[in-house]
Amino acid sequence: MMRMRLASARKLIVPLALLMGIHLAVLMAGFVAPYNPDMQDRAAPNCPPTRVHWVSADGRLSWHPFIYGLSENVVTENGFAQPTKEAEPCTENPRTAYPIQFLRRGVPYTILGVLTPDRHLLGVATPAHLHLMGTDNYGRDVFSRLLYGGQISLFAGLLATALSLTMGVLLGTLAGFYGGWGDAVIMRGAELFLALPWLYLLLALRAFLPLHTGPRQTFLLLIAVIGFLGWARPARLIRGVVLSAKERSHILAARSFGASDLHLLRVHLLPETRSVVLTQAALLIPQYVLAEVTLSFLGLGLSEPVPSWGTMLATLQQYHVLVSDWWMFFPGIVLVVVFFSYGGLSDALQGERAKAGVGWEDYR
């Protein structure tokens, strides 16, 4: 691990930088996002991304990027925008220019649970709205929802992976270290879990758990379900590592000096599993992020109005959104970037080590 070859270390840089950027932006969602994820701009539902201009109406280059306000819309009694006769919805009004301001004061948000600053990275003066990725059905800012949604989708993936790996390490080490009937039971169980169609199992397990719960419970439930289903593969791999490591001479020597099982596991065996755990994490995290997105997309995970990449993509199931609102694909694009980065990461971690044989696992 330490003396990773330069080539593969260099390969790590791009995916790591991308991942860190995305995670940082998501963590700082309150600061980076111009608006609250639930704020509805009722004058502008289903609007494409706001165009950022550099050239002013009279043809002069402006040093300060600016946007135009939208043409007057009439908000009807039911609260939704109706265009006035002369204006289509979402058209710019070139008479009203609003410069984009950095570190503008806006809605207060919380960071780390205690601080409540109100400066946002970007913003414009109030009658206009800066929708960098357009708005959804309710006129909510897609960019802001994407960032807040990432907090749920990405961390669901991370936490579920942590759960899976903890279970995998625990069961795998026990099975590999002690052997015997415990080993047999655990490994048969792992085979059972590996043999089943994963998505079907996920749906089935979800079917038997309460559907209508608060968002916080649902989030925890999702993590539990996703993480619980994935223990088998890491457990098998870690069992293999422990099995081969426990016969090595330094461990036999430590044992003959009277080292306790716990000491052997902690000091000698667990460090051996580190590289397997790392590569497994790089493989599992994107898969579990996708699992949350899929479940929420299918209506079995989190649901509106909670922002998650899955609930955002779920709006694409509506015909008119799918056909005309291309900007609703933005969460998907970010998802692909996350996938690509984790893919590069796991490739670099695995190095040139050729995969031996064909497994059901890599067939998905």
């Binding site: 059972l192 043999a195 089943l196 169609p197 998505l199 079907y200 199992l201 749906l203 089935a204 397990l205 979800r206 079917a207 038997f208 758990l209 309460p210 559907l211 996708l290 997105v293 899929t294 997309f297 299918l298 209506g299 079995l300 993509l313 694409l316 199931q317 015909y319 799918l322 056909v323 291309w326 694909f329 998907g332 998802l335 692909v336 996938f339 690509f340 893919g343 050729a354 995969k355 044989g357 064909v358 059901w360 890599d362 067939y363 998905r364």
Partner: protein, 323 residues
């Protein structure tokens, strides 16, 4: 024979395990299909209780599992609350639709992947190989969910393809020929999505298997004898590299019923996937258990079939198993 018997027994045990597991979770779950009814003021609690009793939902878990087993033996696989009919006929119709889709996609994917992978391996590092590896890693990074949505959006926007579904509304009025083209027309998008989902995996494995074989001395000997490249690739190298590919083929058979759930839901293809999803949302538990057991059965059968094929194709395994 013994091998077959062991395999069969394992499969049956797995099926038992899956159905038992599903039932166990069922017991843990709060609420059921009739829970929704209870909220309806127009249905009296006694009616709900009577319905529950009629469907045997008031019995303890072992009894219900036993009853379900008996019903599965009879070929019913329980009773759907939402459809008011035995589960098996429902599943069969949906499974037929799914198999139509996945069968076509799997066949096409293999037909494309085999020669493609072979040609990639023939010149590792060549333009075809580099182009394909770029394509496969890109495709692997795009989840099937997104692929499906993108293709559906493109198909609908251009108007070239129908917006999901399996048959047009006026299907009954069509002539035979029109019916077939209509069905094929509806199949194009989901099949393309499914192919793009499996192709990268297949390509990578075909290429890797071939590369390993092409290093072998007998290939160099064949080259030395002046046998044409094409003949070496397809008549000498491919058969020698077939073992991992046969296992992989077993896996793709195993995934026939369960691999297309998302695509089916996105493209509203009336397959097993949407049925399972609806059943999950409606808490129509016997349909869920039935669908999961059914797809597991397919999984077991597909993997066993893959093993059998391996058995048939490789004499070494045959002799090992006989000893």
């Amino acid at each position: 024979m013994r091998y077959l018997a062991v395999r069969f027994l394992q499969g049956v045990l797995l099926l038992f395990g899956v159905s038992l597991l599903s039932f166990a979770f069922l017991e843990l779950a709060p609420g059921d299909f009739f829970e929704e009814m209870r909220l309806n003021p127009q249905i009296s609690p006694s009616t709900v209780a009577r319905l529950r009793a009629a469907y045997g939902m008031d019995r303890p878990l072992p009894v219900r599992y036993g009853r379900w087993l008996v019903s599965a033996m009879r070929g019913d696989f329980g009773f759907s609350f939402a459809y008011g009919s035995p589960v098996a006929p429902l599943l069969l119709v949906r499974a037929r639709n799914t198999l139509l889709l996945t069968g076509t996609a799997t066949l096409l994917a293999w037909v494309v992947a085999l020669p493609w992978g072979v040609f990639c391996a023939a010149r590792p590092g060549g333009w075809l190989d580099r182009g394909s590896s770029l394509m496969t890693s890109t495709l692997l990074a795009i989840p099937e969910l997104l692929l499906g949505l993108c293709f559906l959006a493109i198909g609908v926007r251009t108007g070239w393809f129908p917006a999901g579904g399996m048959l047009s509304a006026s299907f009954e009025d069509f002539s035979r020929w029109q019916q077939i083209t209509d069905l094929l027309w509806h199949m194009v998008l989901p099949v393309v999505v499914l192919i793009l989902g499996t192709l990268p995996v297949l390509l990578r494995h075909v290429r890797a298997a071939l590369l390993e074989v092409l290093d072998a001395p007998f290939i160099r000997a064949a080259l030395g004898h002046g046998i044409s490249r094409r003949r070496i690739l397809f008549r000498h190298a491919l058969p020698a590299a077939i073992n991992p590919l046969v296992s992989l083929f077993g896996f793709s058979l195993a995934a026939l019923l369960s691999g297309s759930l998302l695509t089916e839901v996105i493209m509203s293809w009336p397959g097993l996937g949407p049925l399972l999803l609806e059943a999950v949302l409606a808490r129509d538990i016997y349909v869920v258990v039935g669908a999961v057991t059914f797809s597991t059965f397919f999984l077991v059968a597909g993997m066993a079939l893959g093993d059998l094929l391996l058995f048939a194709s490789d004499p070494r395994i045959r002799s090992e198993a006989l000893v």
